[in-house]
Symmetry: C2
Subunit: 223 residues, 2 copies
Amino acid sequence: MKRAVVLLSGGLDSATALYWARGRGYEAVALSAHYGQRHARELRAARAVARRAGAEFVRLGLRLPWLGSSSLVDRSRSLPDIPARRIGKGRIPSTYVPGRNAVFLSLAISLADAKGAEAVVIGSNAQDFSGYPDCRPEFIAAFAKAAHLGTRRGAEGKRLSVLAPLQRLDKAGIVRLALRLGVPLELTWSCYAGGRRPCGRCDSCKLRARGFAAAHAADPALR
Amino acid sequence: MKRAVVLLSGGLDSATALYWARGRGYEAVALSAHYGQRHARELRAARAVARRAGAEFVRLGLRLPWLGSSSLVDRSRSLPDIPARRIGKGRIPSTYVPGRNAVFLSLAISLADAKGAEAVVIGSNAQDFSGYPDCRPEFIAAFAKAAHLGTRRGAEGKRLSVLAPLQRLDKAGIVRLALRLGVPLELTWSCYAGGRRPCGRCDSCKLRARGFAAAHAADPALR
């Protein structure tokens, strides 16, 4: 059976990417990481989603002291609270975690190369790349080329692909795809604040709400 | 002052890369990682070299359970012991650590992006890339492109470069460059076995010895 390593944060996008991979016939290994994010509770969601999907779950603990430059890690800073239509326009948000997707993708290709998996799957998408540079399709494409060249699989003439199946979807499109794939959306967690309930004010909550609204669906995580 | 993050394992190549960066006027931050390598003693060498160079030293502890597939991590396996002229010819050696340079480079660009550094420096070179896919110039070039595209610096129109100044040198060339730059070679550690003294039998010891011999120099680490 073909195998894929799926980066799983526990949010809407990565859970959908996991179910997409499953639907494509991949035996999935879900990879999550604690890196000091204030919403570390997303890792509980990731574990629950992986279990539901029948995927192996690998959770890493990363201590990267310099990530305190991000408001997603430094709890003493406030999270952005701006109108949904302005999210991703203009400057890189303070929630940007330097090089996060490069680090996550590298860990995933390392795991994939060790396990002989033929693909790495990431849930980055159109909605994010307007704000975070490491979600841009150009970055993913350049990284994919590097991944193929710098691994045993690539050197042995096999393929190690980096797949970003949500790349051209907006949040409404992702919600529709998730519903079609039967993603257990009630288990997912997107809120950056990481409280008991989604805050409704952070960028991630607003984009998610807008996605469900545009897809004419109710968010089962808010019940 | 311009800044660079230098990947520093504590061996001959990375120590030379650090002094090269210093010579080019970079204020260097040295980045090392413990990833379960059997020669974790190289990290003591890295710290000593960084201190001598006046560089900030950042040491990470990575727990990547799948790296046991490498004989450089799994102590129950034996290290290759083959004639020096055959090293790097043919198959990828068992000491290959899956995706190691991708992971290290990603951590370095993350640190560089957080600190506003304009370059990441790696000591990979001609001698290694014959064996390890993640030392090949094509990999480094593809990764460099991804690093520029996926970081704040790149997105803001500044440059984040990945430099591999030893790329076209063989070990003798590196020894000559190290001597010219005043690298404290007596502090460096290359042996994979990680005992009290270099074993003289592993690939790394043999390549180092061959480099010093070809450069008509004595290895001060063997005194």
